[in-house]
């Protein structure tokens, strides 16, 4: 077990190194640097001004030189300083990550809460109208771009009905929940949670579709197993068979999927964060790319890679706990 963990960690470090190398070279292969962005908007800046700035910003150094300097810092946890904002990149990311993480949590929660029953019901009522409806929703979910749904929901729920705000983020809903419980005032929670509703639905929609289909096929497979027939023959109530014997096993692939989905949600739900003016790391990355803020771009990619690797490790571990077959291998 220890050897396994050690090899996994070594593997993770290698992946990270590769990611840094690829990103830092790719980003610099593309023409244009932060000074080009500055100059494009400032006719008063002369060619001499631009050259002097490049020199002082360290942009004239060669790519390997910059890479080695960056790596040296990264090992000590210093991901550099944002060229545009002058603030340490780690600070910027830590500021934005909670907003993304919480949104990802609510989206995934919503996706699972809807997808699991939907998947089970469509499997049980196979080839009935319920199944067809479920399939229809799934196809719709997979093929509807998240941003389209987002804009439609803003038009309908915010502008037409004025139920929920169109955009923005007003602090963590978890924190608000805590405060609401202490002060026994539910409106505190609502005032911050309502901003999560539309973006979470937009993100969850496609996940619901994918997960529901996944559970449906897993359920169908499991329901044909001998032990299900045996349990039924033994007289175990249908509900118990479905929930305890079938669903538990059918959920296995969902654990993997949910892990990966959480990873991609965490590493920045770029489009949705832009549409809903959500201050997360997806938007941080987009803004940084626009102005060629290299340290920020690199750091967001590295942090995303780190999140993916960590989640993968967690899923692997979880698998070993819930599926004895994997443990034996």
């Amino acid at each position: 077990m220890l050897r396994l963990i050690a090899s996994r960690l070594l593997y993770a470090v290698l992946i990270l190194l590769g990611v840094i190398l690829v990103v830092s070279s790719l980003v610099k292969l593309v023409p244009g640097d932060p000074v080009d962005v500055l100059a494009a908007g400032n006719p008063g800046m002369s060619v001499a001004n631009m050259d002097a700035l490049r020199e002082t910003m360290g942009l004239t150094r060669s790519v390997p030189e910059q890479f080695i300097a960056y790596l040296g810092g990264a090992i000590q946890g210093d991901l550099g300083t944002s060229i545009r904002q002058g603030a340490p990149v780690t600070t910027l990311i830590m500021e934005r990550l909670p907003a993304t993480a919480e949104l990802a949590f609510w989206a995934l929660l919503l996706a699972l809460v809807v997808a699991v029953p939907l998947g089970v019901i469509t499997a049980l009522k196979r080839n009935s109208w319920v199944d067809y409806l479920g399939t229809f929703i799934a196809v719709l979910g997979v093929s509807t771009p998240g941003f389209l749904l987002a804009v439609l929901m803003i038009l309908w729920f915010s502008i037409e009905l004025r139920w929920i705000p169109a955009s923005g983020y007003r602090g963590s809903a978890f924190m608000a929940l805590g405060q609401a419980i202490v002060e026994r005032d539910f409106s505190i929670f609502w005032s911050s949670f309502r901003y999560f509703i539309l973006p979470a639905i937009s993100l969850a929609f496609v996940l619901i579709a994918v997960n529901a289909r996944l559970i449906r096929s897993a359920m169908l497979e499991v329901l044909e197993q001998d032990y299900i027939n045996f349990a039924a023959a033994k007289g175990v109530p249908r509900f118990i068979i479905v929930v305890r014997h079938a669903l538990r096993n059918a959920l296995l692939p969902v654990v993997t999927m949910a892990g990966l989905q959480m990873g991609s949600l965490l590493s920045g739900t770029v489009v949705i964060e832009t549409v809903f003016a959500w201050p997360g790391i997806g938007r941080l990355a987009v803004d940084a790319i626009h102005v060629r803020d290299y340290p920020v771009i690199q750091a967001v990619v590295i942090v995303s890679a780190l999140l993916f690797i960590t989640l993968n490790l967690l899923v692997d571990g979880l698998y070993r706990i819930i599926d004895p077959r994997v443990r034996d291998e």
Partner: protein, 534 residues
């Protein structure tokens, strides 16, 4: 004529005149703005009535400032935010005239290489630090320090240092006389910052800025935006603001920003492209909205790369100029929200030459075909147009593509993000480019048309043009300078170096409960002069 020979009074007049903007020239304000016009007079400095401050103005913008450290940014959204927090030595009114800010008077000396300011006494920064000559000199030293690599230092021009002479006197020593001195000195970039605060917060100063302006930063967080609160001690400088607070939220997505306005979450949208052009029609019909507009000191043009064939041939350039119907372009790409441009200098900039309108190659596809045939391209040709990814520019490019197709020219459009666009086009990696600038002075011809200019995308080789451009920079007499500027513009248009396209309008939208909203020449509102109906 040397600038050193001018009397200090003349130089002062010249440098201030240099900045004068004729922005209300042609169309003036439309609709809602006109109704506000009379009331807006009340908002001008020195005329504001003593009133109790009340109300919070909530503003939606498309961008968030990167930092509010004036020495670390050149982003315009940061600049306009800083103008509220910091107090520059001088400011500009709605017409672009210079008036006293932190300084109550100034004079040039030492053959116009020294500019000495008398500061208003008793001014303090928001943290209580005295805002005196010492602080001004300290700020300039920080700005010019090469270790700080300030991207905004170029706004100061050839400034060598600032010297505190006594508590309220500070001298700016330039290495040479610098006519556009007010272009930078009236902006937040060059306003004094609190030395105590800057030293205490170090790298974090951009997030905790302390100035002497009409508002102080109360909070700035990624989730709640930026909140500025009224500086009650601003009376030592100018009339204190009537608003209790201003809050800036940023919404990168147009639809979301508009939704926030329509649902009453915000009271105003302005700055840069924050009011989307395709929403103007809808906003004008909204009874709760006042749409303000004003011609921008900005223009967009199609610029031909003369270093490449076929644009080394003047007839081809003229043919292209003839093939484009700008009026139709404005109707389709901008929903009519722009004016036809005729010269490389926007008509809202002093120095614009109206004669260029007669010299232009107007829409005439037959003439275009004929010129192309004469140049040996009767069977058509193929060129690339490199554009950046701004929606309006992209649409403009598509219309150019369609219109040129009618005369047998196939245009391949390459759309690039701004940094890449900038890098590639500055190396001449394009046949044509849609060039944009925003500037306040006719000296814009230097960066965009001089062969060594930082934004020259025509890559021509014309010693005569270069000489004219250099000459207008040092020509003191306004009439004389105009003659040179006329010549420059006539040359560029008749030789079709550029096909000027259009001059955009700046827009702002405010809710009807907002009072005294007026756009300045930069297309900004001035919350320090505005109020909210209670």
């Amino acid at each position: 004529m040397s600038l050193n020979k001018l009397s200090p009074q003349e130089f002062d007049a010249l440098s201030r005149d240099y900045l004068k903007r004729f922005s209300l020239s042609r169309r003036g304000f439309l609709t809602g703005a006109a109704a506000l016009g009379a009331a807006a007079g009340l908002g001008l400095p020195g005329m504001a009535m003593a009133q109790d401050a009340n109300g919070t103005l909530r503003v939606g913008r498309s961008e968030e400032p990167d930092t509010l450290d004036p020495h670390r940014t050149t982003l315009s959204v940061s600049s306009t935010t800083m103008d509220l927090i910091y107090e520059p030595l001088a400011r500009r009114d709605y017409e672009g005239n210079v008036f006293a800010g932190l300084a109550e008077s100034w004079e040039f000396s030492n053959e116009n290489r020294t500019l000495t300011f008398k500061l208003k006494p008793g001014v303090t920064f928001h943290d209580g630090t005295p805002c005196d000559a010492e602080a001004v000199a300290w700020t300039v030293a920080r700005h010019l320090n090469p270790d700080n690599a300030s991207p905004s230092a170029f706004f100061l021009g050839p400034l060598e240092r600032a010297e505190a002479i006594d508590a309220v006197t500070v001298a700016y020593h330039f290495t040479e006389p610098f006519v556009p001195v007010w272009v930078g000195l009236t902006l937040g970039y060059s306003a004094p910052i609190s030395p105590t605060a800057a030293e205490a917060s170090g790298d974090q100063f951009g997030r905790q800025p302390v100035g002497a302006g009409p508002f102080r930063l109360a909070s700035w967080s990624t989730d709640r935006g930026i909140r500025l609160e009224r500086n009650a001690d601003y009376g030592a400088v100018n009339t204190p603001a009537r608003l209790e607070a201003v809050e800036f939220f940023h919404y990168p997505e147009d639809a979301t920003r508009l939704a926030a306005f329509e649902t009453g979450e915000i009271d105003a949208i302005y700055t840069g492209g924050s009011v989307p052009l395709d929403a103007v029609r809808r906003l004008r019909q909204n009874p709760d909205a006042i749409v303000l507009e004003r011609p921008a000191q900005m223009m967009r043009a199609l610029v031909f790369n003369q270093r490449r064939a076929p644009f080394d041939n003047a007839n081809v350039r003229k043919a292209f100029a003839h093939a484009i119907d700008v009026e139709r372009m404005i109707a389709f790409a901008l929903d009519g929200n722009a004016a036809v441009a005729t010269s490389p200098i926007a008509s809202a900039i002093s120095g614009y030459s109206p004669a260029t309108a007669d010299l232009a190659y107007g829409y005439d596809p037959d003439a275009a075909k004929k010129l192309l045939a004469e140049a040996g391209h009767a069977e058509g040709l193929r060129v690339t147009l490199v554009t950046n990814d701004t929606p309006v520019i992209r649409r403009t490019a598509e219309i150019i593509q369609a219109q040129l197709a009618e005369v047998g020219v196939e245009v391949a459009i390459e759309t690039l993000p701004i940094a890449q666009w900038s890098a590639i086009t500055s190396q001449g990696g394009q046949d044509m480019v849609i060039s944009t600038y925003s500037y306040t002075d006719a000296d814009i011809v230097y960066p965009v048309l001089h062969s060594t200019g930082a934004l020259n995308r025509a890559f021509h080789d014309n010693a005569e043009l270069d000489a004219l451009i250099a000459e207008q920079r040092v020509t003191v007499d306004a009439a004389e300078r105009q003659v040179i500027l006329d010549e420059i513009q006539a040359l560029v248009i008749s030789e079709a170096y550029w096909k000027p396209l259009f001059e955009p309008l700046n827009f702002a939208v405010v809710s009807t409960k907002v009072e005294d909203a007026q756009l300045n020449t930069a297309g900004e509102l001035r919350p320090d002069l505005m109020a909210i109906k209670s």
